[in-house]
Subunit: 361 residues, 2 copies
Amino acid sequence: MAQGNDERVAEKRFHGDYHGAVSSPPGRLTLADIARLAGVGLGTASRALNNAPGVSPATRRRVLDVAERHSYVVSPEASRLAGGSTGRVAVVVPHLSRWFFGAMVEAIESVLRDADLDVLLYHVGDLQDRRDFFERLPARRKVDAVLVVGFGVEEPERQRLALLGVQVVAAGGRHAVYPHVGVDDAEAGRQAVDHLISLGHSAIAMIEAVDPDQATSPPGRSAAYHAALAAAGLPVDERLVVRTRWGGEEGAAAMAQLLTVPDRPTAVYAHSDEVAIGAVRTLRRIGLRVPQDVSVVGIDDHPLAALTDLTTVAQPVTEQGRVAAELTLALLRGTPPGLQAVTLPTRLVVRHSTAAPPRRG
Amino acid sequence: MAQGNDERVAEKRFHGDYHGAVSSPPGRLTLADIARLAGVGLGTASRALNNAPGVSPATRRRVLDVAERHSYVVSPEASRLAGGSTGRVAVVVPHLSRWFFGAMVEAIESVLRDADLDVLLYHVGDLQDRRDFFERLPARRKVDAVLVVGFGVEEPERQRLALLGVQVVAAGGRHAVYPHVGVDDAEAGRQAVDHLISLGHSAIAMIEAVDPDQATSPPGRSAAYHAALAAAGLPVDERLVVRTRWGGEEGAAAMAQLLTVPDRPTAVYAHSDEVAIGAVRTLRRIGLRVPQDVSVVGIDDHPLAALTDLTTVAQPVTEQGRVAAELTLALLRGTPPGLQAVTLPTRLVVRHSTAAPPRRG
DNA sequence: CTGTTAGCGCCTTCAT
DNA sequence: ATGAAGGCGCTAACAG
C-alpha cells in the first residue's frame, strides 16, 4: 500500500524513489486544505481520513487520494484536542540493554507501528526512575494505553496508573490486575530442574537472580526449584541456594560462593542465561569442566546461550511482545476479547552444558 | 524536588507515598481553572506556568502554587496546537535487541527524560521498515528533533528528513551532514589489529560484519585492517578476509569458512564481539584452543565479552548516547555550540582470547 | 451521505 | 504587569 502512483521513472538508487515527494512542501496543509482540494466539506474529509462510517466509497477514495498526493498527515495534537485519541501508547520498561527487553520492545513497536500507533518509551531503570514515573505520570494525557514490560506493578503504582484513565496491558510478567501475556515461570523452572534430575543429579544448586530495583522477581523460578526437588524426593540443602543480582558477573560471583560449600553441587540451575554463563566462567576458571564435572542450565535462550552451548529453557520473547501489542490493539479497538491473559509455552533446549553427574569418587 | 509536602504519615510501603495524590481527580483541570483559583487572568497564568517574562514574582508564585496543589499539567496537545513545541524527540534505531542499541537508547532516554522530553521510538529493522519510515515520515508534526542511532542516512533519506523541518542528530555513526557523536572506527580497528601484530601474528584473518539491511557498514573497521597490516609491512591474503552478516551464528560460520583455507590464520580480527564469540565457538568445537592455537579479538566490549574472556576494543556506548542526547538538547535550546561533532575514544581491553601465535611447527 | 457549527485547552498578540 | 480576544487544526454533534 505504499508502492503505487509511479508517475516518474524512478532512478534506481538505493532508497531513491520516494515518488517525488521530496520537493513537496512540508506537512503544512490542514484538513481544510484537503477538504477544499477534494471538493468536500470539513466533516466529510475528517470522516474519510479516520475511516469513520458515513462516507461514500467514492468520496472517501477521493479524499484519501488528495491526502496521499499531498502527503498530508493529521495533526495529532489537534485531533486529540478535539476529542480524538492520541495515537500513542506508552511502553514502560525497566531495562533496554538486556536482550529480553530489547527484543520485547522491538516486537511491540513493530505491531503497534503497523497499526499506526506511535510508541512513547519510558525507561524506569532504578527505583528513583520508577517512583518518578508513577509519581509524575509523564504519560498523562499523552497516550491511549500503557504497556508495562517485564515488571510487576505494585498496588500503589496501580492506583497512580489508574489516574491515566487508559487501558493497561502487561507483557512478560504475571499480573493479577491487568490483561497480560507471559510465560509460566514455575513451569520453565520445573523444566530446567527436572532436566537436571533426570540426568541423575541430586546435588543441585540454584542461583536466584533478583532485580534489586524491581519490587518483585519471578518467584515462580525459585518455587519451581523446591517443587521439583520435592517431587523427586530430593532434600533441599539451603547452602546450595544463593541469591544474587541479575547479571553475568553476578552469576560468576555466586558460583564462586557455591564452590565454597563442603559438598560441591554437581549441577547448577540459574535463573537466567546471563547468570548461567557467568557461572560457567567461574567453573572453567578454577579448572572444572562443564558439563563433565558440573552441569549448568539457564532460562531464556538468550542468543548467547547458543553461542556458548548452554542448555536452557527457551521462552518466546518476540512472540510475547507481539501478542501483548495485539492485545493492546484489541482493547483499544474496544474489542474486549475473552483472551485477557495469555501464557505462552516454554521449551527445554538441551545443548552441551549439561550431562550426567560425574561418578562418585 | 519530588519529596516535599508530606501532609500525611506515609505508610512505609515500597512505592507507597505518592503524597496522597492518588485520590486527587485526574488531570481534568484547565488553565482557566488554575487562573481562576489563583485569581488571575488566563494570560498571566499561562506566562507564569511557562516561565515566561512579564509576571511579577509574587503572582507567579501564587499561580505555581495553585497548579502544584492541584497537580495541574498543561495539555500538551493544546499547548502544541497553540504554537508551542511538541516536547518529543524521535529516536530512530535499526535494532533494539542488540546490546549496543539498547544501551544507547537507554542513555538517550535518560537524558531526554531529565529534560522533560518524551521519546518517540521508531524501529527501522529491515529495508522495508526503513523505506516506510522515510517515505511516510510517521514522525511528521510529532517531534521537535530526530535522533538517528547507529546507521548512516542516505542522501534521499536526508532529503525526506529535511521535510520534517526539525533538527537531526546522529549517534553511533559518522555522518557528514548531521551533528553527531560516535567513535573512530578506523582507530578502533587499528587498536585491535595492532594488538595482534604486536603479539607477533602475521597470518591475521578478518571477519567483516555487515548489516545487509543498512546501507552502510562501518567501513572504518575494514579499512583499519588493511592499513594496519600495510603499516606493519604485512601482506594481505584476501582469502583471510570473509564478510558475513552481523551476529554470533554468522561469525561461527565465517570462522568455519576461514578454517578451510590452506594456511590457517593464527589470529582473527572480528568486527564485533558477537561475531568474535561465534568464531571462538567454532574454533573450540573443532578442537582448537583459544588463544593458544588461535587468537581472537573483537570490538565493542559487549558485556558478554567479559564473561567469555574475550579481548576486545571497548567503545563508550552509554557515553555516546548521553552526549548525543545532550547535543540534541543544546540544539533544541537554540544553543548552536561549536561542538557539532564529538568523537569519543576507544580502548583496547586485553583479556584471554589473544596470545602470541603458536611456534611454527 | 454530506456541509456547517461549536468547542477542545492553550499561547499570543493586543490593549489596558 | 495584567486581562481580553483570536486562533491553532481537528472531531463531534448537529442540520440538511
